[in-house]
Amino acid sequence: MQTPSELKYAPSHEWLSEDGTVGISDFAQDQLGDVVYVELPEVGRIVTAGETVAVVESVKTASDIYAPATGTITAVNDALSGGPELVNSSPYEDGWLFKIDVTEESAELLSAEEYAAANN
């Protein structure tokens, strides 16, 4: 399981980068299995840390994605519309979900080390 050290992680398996990009962890994509559909928020939406902002669907189930920070959605990954499997193949790069202009991060975010330890 990869947990890049430059990212912060929510206990609910989302990652947040320095520039406000959000995705799901390698551990989460592996647990979900083949991703077949991703529903993304509208650009411009104001979100509060912890609220449901996206849905990642595997063959089997639909999983809610929670905002790891409070702020405004500034971009979504349109490539996921035609290629939802990017979430599996590249969870930290091509499979990113959306970007937030962060006003405040969730107080629950973990370091890569803490997140990896919690999911062993």
């Binding site: 609910s12 989460a28 299995g33 083949d34 077949v36 063959v59 639909a62």
Partner: protein
């Protein structure tokens, strides 16, 4: 996102083998079962194009013997077991007395006065109590053999070719729905040419203590281990109802297209089942958004039913679902399915979604 923790669950004789094969284990009907090994899509494709093996040892097995065995079964099931010859199997229903189903089952006739039943894992205790309750007055003996048997479902177009070198019986001579003893990899088993994936294949009844060795030999000859995830997408594509979804205590079973399962008129609840159902089970296809159990289905702005099973179809490449809708709204070409508060168009398609060529 939330990943579910696992409560205390029953395990099949293959539990250790699943872990060795890299399975992700999940709770299912009170059992800890493999949902996937390599991935749902890969396992699904293996069964559609090659052959895979499923552990279905969690399913229940009952034996019914005695002079009244056939009469008893024609009281508690809707099909006509008197038409079933020894060595043949048939899909069947256990109706309740109010027009729903206790379970859907498979009935194997072993001999004139001996039948073998395979029931859904989550319904073993309920079915057993129900059969016991209705056995009064019939000269029958019921035995719960659920713990005695391992059950491996080998499914896919290559199933026969892959098993044949290891079988004491000429499998090409075994017709669909036959049931016969054989030696497989040198072990005494019962084989049935049955399954629930929409593909050809065999269900292999093994002694529970030998199931793991036989499973290992199956993997060694190249059968792909397949989990509940693929089992569900395969049966959904094949349009097969699943108890707890398309069938339940309160769902009229003739809402489905499986009217042929009702063949006798003397069964429990006949007066209810032999009335027209108020709902119809339909097939829906969507472009992108997967539909899931419970999502409302509407027609011209009015909710007319709900999705009972839904998934992305690995074979067809788009989402599919079955839905129970009001009978008078069951013939439209297009519906809307509500997904997280938004309506998405769905086309009605004839079941099954997939039929093997």
């Amino acid at each position: 996102m939330t990943l579910t923790p696992e409560p205390t669950l029953k395990r099949t004789p293959l539990h250790a083998a699943h872990l060795r094969a890299g399975a992700r284990m999940v709770p299912f009907g009170g059992w800890e079962m493999p949902v996937q090994y390599s991935g749902v899509k890969a396992e699904h494709d293996a069964v559609r194009t090659g052959a895979g093996v499923f552990d279905v040892s969690h399913m229940g097995e009952f034996r019914i013997t005695g002079p009244d065995a056939a009469a008893f079964l024609n009281r508690v099931t809707t099909n006509d077991v008197t038409k079933l010859k020894p060595g043949r199997a048939a899909y069947n229903w256990l109706p309740n007395d109010s027009g729903g189903l206790v379970d859907d089952i498979y009935v194997y006739r072993v001999a004139a006065e001996e039948f073998f039943l395979v029931v859904n894992a989550s319904n073993i205790a309920k079915d057993w109590a129900h059969l016991q309750q209705h056995a009064a007055g019939f000269a029958v003996t019921l035995t719960d053999e659920s713990d005695r048997w391992g059950l491996l479902a080998v499914q896919g177009p290559q199933a026969e070719a892959m098993l044949q070198p290891h079988s004491s019986v000429d499998l090409s001579a075994a017709k669909k729905n036959t049931y016969f003893p054989a030696k497989l990899f040198g072990f005494d088993v019962w084989l049935a040419r049955t399954g629930y994936t929409g593909e050809d294949g065999f269900e292999v009844f093994t002694d529970a203590s030998e199931a793991e060795t036989i499973w290992d030999k199956m993997l060694a000859i190249g059968l792909t281990p397949a989990g509940l995830g693929a089992r569900d997408t395969l049966r959904l594509e094949a349009g097969f109802p699943l108890y707890g979804h398309e069938f339940a205590d309160h769902i009229h079973p003739l809402s489905s297209t499986y009217t042929w399962v009702v063949k006798n008129t003397a069964h429990l609840g006949a007066e209810h089942i032999q009335t027209a159902p108020k709902q119809k089970l339909i097939g829906l296809a969507l472009d992108k958004v997967p539909v899931r159990e419970g999502y409302p289905v509407s027609l011209d702005g009015a909710v007319v039913g709900h999705v009972t099973s839904g998934s992305s179809s690995p074979t067809l490449g788009h989402p599919i679902g079955m839905a129970l809708v009001n009978a008078d709204a069951g013939n439209a070409d297009a519906y809307d399915v509500e997904v997280r508060g938004k309506l998405h168009p769905a086309r009605r398609v004839e079941l099954p979604f997939y039929k093997r060529s």
